[in-house]
Symmetry: C2
């Protein structure tokens, strides 16, 4: 195969019988050279498998092909899934995405943004931690780097925010639950880090008001990203303190619901919509595991395929058009009711 080790583009150009600038053009855009030239380069590529030095490429280029992707917590399968989705779309668009996770830590989030700057990315797609984020740091980053926010919004920061219509989520579920049984009470964390939680609560309140029911909100203690544990501990506590005010509970998100299901199991409470069940539990997000809980969780699915597509498209539209400033855009996707056995 490779008789001679190719050390740089100069050498590679010589073995392929071309000049370096032409080869350079090829790597920048294969369609920018004549078909016969392209064929010669690609033939040489098979023989010697050379790759341009990334660092040398990027240092002297105004805009790199780097893209930063930042999620608040990668150990959450929901974010792992959406990150994967976005990552793939970036690759398909010819960019080099790099994935980062804040691991729930605002300091780490700030540090990652700082390091990201050094990579001179063409753009970034970030889901901020939310309420605990260093808003100044995020906003400052967004001024220097074209950035699309997703999942969790910071008002007027970045090019755009792509997310879910959280109030609609709760409305949809409240409507379904109260149509098929008792109206739900709402189960959430006392101090949710994610701003979506507030919108979901408000959606619940609005829906209940609209349907003429009295809302009840159960707030449980807990901090951090161990939502399942918070839901379980809070569930136990609530059940021991006399239980919920109705036989139906709408959780702020699936992970809390998963914890609540565990609590119900521990307390011997049968969950589901069958006649012999004592409680209905619903979640929101369509977390990857929600289909495998016992009983499987009724929930609202986020359309993360559409969201990731839109987020990536918005970013690259701006990056590739070179626009300096465009009006901040907000796009919200509706959720879809996923009926399973838990409610």
């Amino acid at each position: 195969m490779e008789y001679t080790k190719i050390r740089n583009m100069e050498e590679f150009a010589s073995v392929s019988g071309l000049s370096r600038p032409t080869v350079s053009k090829y790597f920048h855009d294969p369609s920018s050279v004549r078909a016969t030239t392209r064929a010669r380069i690609e033939a040489a590529l098979e023989e010697h498998d050379y790759r341009p030095n990334i660092f040398a490429m990027n240092q002297n280029r105004k805009l790199t092909k780097n893209v930063g992707i930042l999620v608040p917590y990668l150990a959450d399968p929901f974010f792992a899934e959406i990150a994967r989705n976005i990552e793939q779309r970036c690759i398909d668009a010819g960019y080099s995405p790099t994935l980062y996770s804040s691991h729930g830590d605002p300091n780490l989030e700030r540090e990652i943004l700082e390091n990201l700057r050094a990579l001179k990315p063409a753009g970034a797609l970030i889901a901020p931690l939310g309420r605990v984020s260093d808003n100044g740091a995020v906003a400052s980053f967004c001024e220097d780097v074209p950035t699309v926010l997703f999942d969790s919004n910071l008002p007027d920061v970045g090019l755009a925010f792509i997310g879910s219509d959280n109030p609609q989520f709760s409305m949809l579920m409240v409507e379904y639950l109260s149509r098929t049984g008792e109206p739900p009470c709402f189960f959430e964390m006392k101090d949710p880090a994610n701003p979506n939680a507030n919108k979901r609560r408000q959606g619940y309140l609005d829906a209940m008001a609209q349907l003429g029911f009295e809302p009840t909100i159960v707030k449980v203690d807990g901090q951090g990203w161990s939502f399942e544990e918070i839901g379980r501990a809070g569930g136990i506590q609530t059940l021991e303190a006399g239980g919920f005010s109705t036989n139906t509970v709408l959780c702020s998100n699936d992970r809390l619901a998963i914890g609540l299901l565990t609590a119900c199991y521990e307390k011997g409470l049968r969950v589901g919509r069958d006649a012999d069940c004592e409680l209905r539990v619903a979640g929101q997000d369509d977390h990857p595991f929600s289909r495998y809980t016992c009983p499987p969780l009724t929930t609202i699915a986020q359309d993360y395929d559409a969201m990731s597509r839109r987020a990536v498209k918005t970013l690259f539209d701006v990056v590739e058009s070179g626009e300096r400033s465009r009006p901040h855009e907000t796009v919200l996707y509706e959720g879809r009711l996923i009926m399973r056995q838990s409610a």
Copy 2:
């Protein structure tokens, strides 16, 4: 703050009243310059907040501070967790880790390794896909880049393999299960991609033989990384075909077990170790979600704290000592029995 925008190290050196090589030395190792010099640089740093250009730094340096981390499937919380652990340790050691996921795809795995090469990493920590990996590609990568393998082994590839003593896992669980009830049958995928699955099966067979019981292996169809779904579908099928040969099932891993629990729920089979339960189900891995299944899953915990610590230490020992070749090392950690309600 910054009256003058610093464009490069030359300018920064001049505003701090020093020469560029001295400043360069500082960024390479702050302790390599005199304390008074260090103070001047750091004072200037506060004023102008300059950062050396990463690409320029790396292009002309034999070894970068980059470290590649590759896991087979980041949407699996187990890998997300261990990746986070490893990532943090790399940062603490002063390196810049970059996280990648093969997403279960051997082609993507090969491509990532190729891209990783271009980053001239000082080292890499990778968990190969396993049986479906392009072994040649992985081995070739390991020859060029100091690499420690974890989770899933490829014989004699890389500097070392750090993993779990999988046969011991099964032995431990078989011993526990047969001591407290009927000996288990073994539930697994027909064609497991992960080589650990084979070791766990063998551990099961050995343990059963040692204890004088007749082993039974239930193999279920399914491919890919949707283990929960494979476990659920296989579970339904097995239960409809007459059920398991004993009232105790040891699953090859927690995710299969989670799916099996769902199948049992669908079939109305009560799982647990109480008198009124019809089946005991155990897993292996201590998956983050296993504590929240209904019933909570009895399983074997991998010591991923110890594994990640050892993997990172092994890598950096080699990288920093500059050793060319050292004997391949294999380190296996024992599992710990986590008793919950499912078995």
